[in-house]
């Protein structure tokens, strides 16, 4: 093992270093940040048998081009359906591949999805703030945004030829048509008609979408006399309604408190795919009870951990594969005619 270096040749806006997030400081106005799609992010690390929360690159639709200065280094790319170009060859996302010194990898938006993840077989050296390298877009605290010319150092860098190739996607990993929520905690500020409109009408993702939140176009939900309520805590997934009646889903870099009433809260499990929607995409909300939300959280945790374990499971090395073939061959050779 040695160190490898990756040079950023091109990076669009909002291409950042992220780890699993910065927890425990909501009380000080510090949201967790971390990946927009936590499942995609964890999958990239798991595909390289790395700890699922370790620092990786989050790529926006602005795209990213990396050049390997020192290597070789194996990378895993997951997230939305982005397109990869390596040595003038195009690949679809969800790949493990190895970059040799001098080789360039480009990642750009594809058929769907807003975020891609690049994990490394090693450890990216990153600035930490409050114990985490997660980058908050508002302040750029943490590992920070990537821009052209920046060189990333990867320690304990490895080439893992046995892991190269396509990564199997999680089940149902596609742009969602329906997003599950629990109502509230401030649904009392909305009329029965508004709650009905929220649960039955379609919403469209607007262009105002970044790591802080996703503003929606849809039925007007102007809250009743709620503009002067005391500011209340916000959590990732809160659906707040501003005075103009429009809803915004707060995401990874959300403010921690706010005075707009929250009509509903998106289940943590549905936030990952939600973040892959793009401006113009249409979806609806499905209300579940908090009891159902709890059961969903438990079931989904089980499914995800089984999936990630499978991704991380040891792969046969090339030598082992040859050995297996030889053994099989040997058995066949020894079979009497």
């Amino acid at each position: 093992m040695s160190s490898a270096r990756l040079k950023v040749v091109h990076a669009g806006p909002l291409v950042t270093l992220q780890d699993e997030g910065r927890f425990g400081a909501l009380r000080y106005g510090v949201s967790a940040a971390g990946p927009m799609d936590r499942l995609g992010f964890a999958s990239a690390n798991a595909s390289l048998a790395r700890p699922v929360g370790q620092t990786a690159i989050e790529v926006s639709l602005g795209g990213l081009t990396l050049e390997c200065l020192d290597g070789p280094l194996t990378l895993a790319i997951t997230g939305g359906a982005f397109v990869l170009s390596l040595a003038s060859q195009n690949l679809s996302g969800w790949q493990v591949l190895t970059l040799a010194p001098g080789e360039q990898l480009s990642i750009r938006g594809g058929n769907w999805g807003s975020w891609a993840y690049v994990a490394v077989a090693g450890q990216i050296e990153a600035q930490e703030w409050l114990g985490s390298a997660a980058t908050a877009s508002m302040t750029n605290f943490g590992g920070g945004a990537l821009s052209a010319g920046k060189v990333l150092t990867v320690t304990q860098a490895e080439a893992l030829p046995g892991r190269e190739g396509p990564i199997s996607l999680p089940d149902h990993y596609a742009p969602p048509k329906s997003i599950r929520v629990t109502l509230g905690p401030q649904d009392r500020h909305f009329s029965a008609e508004q709650i009905a409109a929220f649960t039955q009408d379609k919403f469209t993702v607007s262009g105002a979408y970044d790591r802080m939140g996703m503003r929606l176009e849809g039925p007007s939900l102007s809250p009743e006399g709620a503009l002067s309520i005391p500011s209340e805590p916000i959590l990732r997934g809160s659906v707040q309604v501003a005075g103009d009646g429009r809803a915004t889903i707060l995401l990874a870099d959300h403010g921690t408190t706010g005075g707009y009433p929250k009509i509903a809260t998106v289940l943590a499990e549905d936030q990952d795919l939600l973040t892959h929607l793009r401006a113009g995409d249409v979806f609806s909300f499905t209300v579940v009870t908090s009891q159902e939300a709890l059961q969903i959280a438990r079931k989904e945790a089980e499914v995800r951990s089984a999936y990630l374990e499978q991704l991380a499971a040891p792969r046969a090395t090339l030598a082992e594969k040859l050995m297996q073939e030889n053994l099989v061959g040997g058995v066949i050779a020894e079979t009497p005619d």
Partner: protein, 225 residues
């Protein structure tokens, strides 16, 4: 005595509501309850966010559930009477001199006073940290006296530097990072609010008292150099 209500959120949080209106009594109760929750080390509780009339409890759904968290929080009641825990008073230096107080003129005009009357009013306030929000380390300090109270500007102004001391209505914030804001900037502080220490990331805890102290331009320049 305040009896909380519990609102379950998604599969992993509970909002503990103590009141719908802001009061000193409610603020004290939130600080006490928040402290009690942290000291109790309730199984599965990951994090709490205290705010003005309620506090958010985020939990691990694999370990506990909404009802168990609600029961564990209820079991901490009744809360100890006020005075159970010491209240910290934090001192924050402010320089109100030219170039560091772009909105002092406007605030003086709006309040029908002078630079000095606004400054005196601001210094006379007995401030309390109500909650954090908006950006890392932005602590909402309640208690701006009327002589320094102005409404928010109609539109936010960009690029307000860290350390700005700004007011809107009865609230004051000492900023920690460069931000756009619609609040009025009446001075600049060299006091470090953002300590960047994982064990004590910021100077204030919710519930702390804050006292502002006037410093000269020279003192300010020395402090930031």
């Amino acid at each position: 005595m305040i009896t909380p209500s519990f609102r379950p959120i998604a599969g992993h949080a509970v909002l503990v509501e103590l009141a719908t209106e802001i009061s000193e009594e409610v603020a004290d109760a939130i600080v006490s309850l928040d402290r009690a929750i942290q000291e109790a080390g309730i199984e599965g509780v990951r994090e709490t966010t205290p705010a003005l009339v309620n506090l958010l409890v985020i939990f691990d759904p694999l370990v506990t559930d909404h009802a168990q968290v609600g029961a564990a929080v209820s079991a901490l009641l009744p809360l100890p009477e006020k005075g159970g825990a010491a209240v910290n008073t934090r001192e924050v230096d402010v320089c109100y001199e030219d170039g560091l107080c772009p909105d002092l003129d406007a605030v003086a005009q709006a309040t029908g006073g002078s630079h000095e009357s606004v400054i005196s009013a601001h210094l006379a306030g007995d401030y309390r940290v109500g909650m954090y929000g908006f950006a890392p380390g932005f602590a909402y300090l309640a208690g701006v006296p009327e002589g320094a109270q102005v409404p928010r500007k109609p539109a936010p102004v960009r690029g307000i530097p860290a350390g700005s001391v700004m007011v809107a209505g009865p609230q004051c914030i000492v900023t920690t990072v460069k931000m756009p804001t619609g609040w009025s900037i009446i001075g600049r502080s060299p006091t470090q609010i953002m300590l960047s220490d994982p064990d004590k990331p910021f100077l204030f805890d919710v519930g702390d008292r804050v006292q502002f102290r006037r410093i000269s331009r020279d003192d300010y320049e020395r402090a930031v150099s």
